[in-house]
Amino acid sequence: MTRAKRLRLIARAELRRRWRTMKGNTTQLLALAFAGIMLLPFSIGGVFGAYLAGGFVAGSETEPLIEWARVAFVYGWIFVVGFGGYRAYAVALRPDNLDGLLTAVSHRDLISGLLLTELALWSAFFLTVGSAASVAFAVGAGSLLTIPALLLTLCLLLATGIPAGFIIALGVRNAGVRSRLLSRLRTLFLVLLGIGYFALIFTNAFASALEPIYRVLSPTPIDWFGDLAALGLGVGASPFRAIGAVGFTGVFVVVAVVSLYRLSEWLWYADGVHITHEVERSDDRSSRFNGLSRILSQPVFGVVVADWKRARRSPISLSFALYPLIVLAGPIVTAVQTGEIGTGLPLWVLLTGTWVAGSLFALNVVGQEGAALPVTLLSEAPERSLVTGHVLSGALLIAPITVAATVTAGILSPHSVPVVASLGVSALVLSAVSGAIGTGIGVGLPRFEAVSVSRSTKAIVPSAFAFAIYSVAVLIVALPAVIAHSGIAGHALASAVGVNRFVIGLSGTLVSAVFACLVGIVSMYVARDRVRNYRLG
């Protein structure tokens, strides 16, 4: 078999494997379908926008246009490198059965095959939509020469950007497997990266974050791609720079391939650092958990301690709890930007705290036992220890934070002190009871199999349906308290009934508390009954 055939075979097998994996995952398929539906109008809009841009170029001053083209293609290159690098780090450089592949083909063939896979995937979108946009732009600009120029530029962008992304990803992964510090702090780095990413989204600061990178790249041949794309438009593109872009690509590809060979060899044949997670032995009863061990029964105490230890050592398995926090990010950013805390923020804090408290440990009581489930079911009264334990794990951890944050935000808001007190009671009751609400839903819709919580980590998390139903249930239960404490509705109710705002707030708290307790009791009863009589098949 020739080398080219081998590379094609690797790429084809990898594409087929990924497609079959995705086909078997309903959530991923839905996400893909959703992305496709979202991308379609953007793509059509993009093509139409390219046509309009072409028309604009045809009737504009030449001087700033070439600069715009250069800037656009440098940012385009940064985009390809960034996303290509991310995909390489998270997906492409982790092929299934790596050992088997490396004993069948050389690391050079393997990295080339994986690169070819990514190029094929990117080309499928880039070159189809890109071709249509190029034609539309050229028609709009009235310059047919622009079509091959733009298409060639797109190809060169991929030919340099994707390998550059691979090189960065390989560099990061090589550092990760060799550095003890990076290996230990991997989770922390990922969390910080995630926070930074969301911070950029919510503060609309992407452009300012990318600007330093642009400044570094603009004096390099990457800046020449704009000239190649604009060749034929008559906007002052330099033919020398355009030819230079092609030459640069050739040189870059050669250097990149050599670098990829070396870096992939270093990664895949590395004697990486081995981190042993040694835990200092401590008696749970005589240390941090002393107070709890006195209050709780031995089995319930065991579940709470195990939940907290597992969560602390594998926080990424609780990443689904980020969804409520993302909802909270909007009101917080608004408060930071305006410098004012309105009456709404304490309600958002209350709602998200309650939401998180119940979802952390109580939403998959049966499923999250994983391989231990058969043995857990044979323990003393598992229905009591598991259900009560998981509810308490979330409530004891999150309820104090929710109450403190709600009350703090309430005091800083225009709410009166009595209303803040009422809000604090709501926060306490709802965040303490939300876990109970989650248990029954969770046992009705359990998830046993581990799913990917990041590109490289699998964990058993609650099912999406359970999470959705639980979210709706919590929202409904909390609604009376939220409405009664909200600025407009609370005020309107107080005026209509002719009582103090505090009375309205307290009434809302009472209704929500009674409602939450009733739903929680029923849900826990269902959960306990299901666990008590649970059979494996």
């Binding site: 040694e278 032995r281 105490f301 065991g302 301690v305 195990a306 994983g370 231990a372 043995v375």
Partner: protein
């Protein structure tokens, strides 16, 4: 525990998954203080049987008792059984000691006694030095050891072990075999499912071979090899291979399959072709 009952007894125990029969009318009894070697090829129904006997799976038909208590009453049997599933029941994020403490607490063992037992078992399985390392750093054999300790931690009367020596090195496997031998010396009953015939040959008082849901032969290892009526040197492996062989068209007529009657099967013999016949 009532001594006038068998440790394990099943009567026409059956499990169907839709139209597929996993276990078909299983009848067996296991005496107290014995090791019952449960053999069978992959997919024969061994794990399903163990799950029914441990109350983890509900039988479609038939009944089973542990120490005279029906397996349908989980509360009545849970204290007297220990179970090592095929996949070690561990959480990767916990240390070996924490995992055992978790199960000890779920079993509501008194704290001091739990600590003593954990320390003793960790010593016995040579895990003391690694007890405070996280299980995701453990080898397959170490995980298996933790799983085995949890099955024994509450000192159950009847222990169900699904492939207990899987993944263990010869020294660790020897420790497990010694532990099983000691358990029966102390009056415990062990229901042992394994593919390693030498383990069964060494430990089992009675061997039952399950094939496609049927108990196709049962007896002591010596009885089974004797039933082969073959030349000297016949081993349990020869018996296993013969009773679990796919019957050919001609042979199938002369090799009636299990009818669910254990007594008849126990009286059965192996014919010259190596297949079980009813007398």
């Amino acid at each position: 525990m009532t001594r006038d009952t068998d440790a394990i007894e099943t009567r026409e125990l059956t499990k169907r998954f839709g139209t597929e029969i996993a276990v078909d009318g299983l009848n067996l009894t296991v005496d107290h203080g014995t090791v019952y070697g449960f053999l069978g090829p992959n997919g024969a129904g061994k794990t399903t049987t163990m799950r029914m006997l441990t109350s983890l799976t509900r039988p479609t038909d038939g009944e089973a008792w542990i120490n005279g208590n029906p397996v349908s009453d989980r509360d009545a049997i849970r204290a007297s059984i220990g179970y090592l599933p095929e996949e070690p029941p561990v959480f990767d994020e916990l240390t070996g000691r924490e995992q055992l403490e978790y199960f000890g607490r779920l079993r509501d063992l008194p704290a001091a006694e739990m600590e003593t037992r954990i320390t003793d078992w960790l010593d016995r399985f040579d895990l003391s030095d690694d007890a405070d390392k996280r299980i995701d750093d453990y080898s397959k054999g170490m995980r298996q050891k933790v799983g085995l300790i949890q099955a024994l931690l509450h000192d159950p009367d009847v222990v169900f072990l699904d492939e207990p020596t899987s993944g263990l090195d010869p020294r660790a496997a020897r420790t497990v075999l010694d532990v099983i031998a000691d358990l029966t010396d102390d009056g415990h009953t062990v229901f042992l499912s394994t593919h390693i015939l030498s383990v069964v040959e060494e430990l089992a008082d009675v061997v039952g071979v399950l094939y496609e849901g049927d108990l196709v032969t049962e007896g002591s290892p010596t009885e089974l090899t004797a039933r082969m009526e073959a030349e000297e040197g016949t081993t349990l492996e020869d018996v296993f291979l013969s009773v679990t062989a796919e019957p050919g068209p001609a042979a199938s007529e002369s090799a009636p399959r299990n009818t669910g009657d254990a007594a008849a099967r126990q009286d059965g013999r192996v014919d010259d072709d190596g297949r079980v016949e009813d007398r």
